[in-house]
């Protein structure tokens, strides 16, 4: 029985999971959730994701929410299939986890505010600038990291990079010159990961 992914084409969490499923060459059914009709707040959906958010994954009896937990589940379950997304060596895995948490804790929050502003369009310029500055200082750290290492966790593409795909895609499409000016390693890394066939499939469906 195929996996079922509940989400929307514009949700960065849904995109993150789609990217993972494509990388792992795992068949899945994409079930669109009608956000404007409030489907994500119905009891039926809340049973899948108690926070009433997308995405959610159904794998037989197993239901999971939180995109970054879902990607880890898929990457582990389908080890040996498609792209290997997880470092095997415990030390390298620890480093991978550091950068996965960095995305979660430092990159995601300012990025989320920026995409909210882009979609809702009613934030003041000052609000957005605060988050832009935060993101810029995060990218400075990434620039340093990527001088030492081709990908965030080490010498190959892992979930640490994949988790950034929706955010980097958005940044590249909105302010390319600004973000990557003076950050050649971030630029090269972004170009590399965003050109992966698995991501190109997801980006084709993305509204931004």
């Amino acid at each position: 029985m195929a996996l079922k992914l509940y989400g929307t084409v514009s949700s960065d969490g849904t995109q993150r999971v789609q990217a993972c499923l494509h990388e792992k060459e795992v068949d899945f059914e994409f079930i669109s959730v009608n956000i404007s009709a409030g489907e994500h707040k119905t009891p039926r959906f809340i049973a899948r994701n108690p926070f009433g958010e997308v995405p959610a994954l159904e794998d037989g009896d197993v239901t999971l929410f939180e995109s970054r937990a879902i990607t880890q589940y898929i990457a582990n379950k389908y080890e040996g299939k498609g792209t290997d997304l997880i470092m095997k060596d415990p030390i390298q895995l620890a480093i991978q986890t550091v950068w996965m948490d960095t995305e979660n804790q430092r990159f995601d929050q300012p990025f989320s505010k920026l995409i909210e502003a882009a979609i809702e369009g009613d934030r003041s310029g000052q609000d957005v600038r605060q988050y832009e500055k935060k993101l810029e200082s995060v990218l400075d750290v990434y620039e340093q990291r990527l001088t030492e290492s081709k990908y965030l966790a080490g010498d190959r593409f892992t979930l640490a990079d994949l988790h950034h795909l929706p955010g980097m895609h958005f940044l590249r499409s909105t302010k390319a010159k600004g973000w990557f000016q003076g950050r050649p390693h971030v630029r090269a890394w972004a170009a590399d990961i965003l050109s992966r066939p698995a991501w190109v499939k997801v980006a084709a469906m993305s509204p931004w």
Partner: protein
Amino acid sequence: MATSVTVYGPPLSTAVSRVLVCLLEKDVPFQLVPVSMAKMEHKKPDFIKMQPFGQVPAFQDDDITLFESRAICRYIAEKYPTQGTAGLYGTNPLVKASIDQWLEAESQSFNPPSSVLTFQLVFAPRMKLKQDEALIKLNEGKLVKVLDVYENRLGSSRYLAGDEFSLADLSHLPNTQFLVDKTDRAELFTSRKNVSRWWSEISTRPAWKKVVEMQNA
């Protein structure tokens, strides 16, 4: 024998205390090296080498230097699977997935509002900074929604990820302790029957009580 595990940072820092409680749960001896935030030690080059964002904690053992408290906790739980509290990070893939799910929920949904409230209600007054009432109200509203989800979950599950105490519960200890103990917002937790029961269980674990002692020392 000197221990090779070192944690850098003050125990009062929520992120530092998250790492400390994990080490104590796993019976891993460690040394705690103070970092004076007042003297900006966390922004000095030597510290930045360990933690490029210039924040606490940083963690070192014989094999590695790490940052991000939840990543450090996972490393500790995986490195010492059989000593101390077993099952902190699950003993099979499905349990691990459930723990990851609730750890991510803590990270994404619980941490942001509870961190803002902790700063505004506990630290701002100590630092003689003006509190932002609008920000407090906004984040209380967000936290209430999260706690409603937890209330429901903990009605059918002893701990967040399942029947056993895990990293998912552990991760909530630092912020909740401040909010329950050092603010007048304890009732956010104590008025919810299941959340209150869960908080009572996890906060009275010996490892956490030891960390609170270290914070109050």
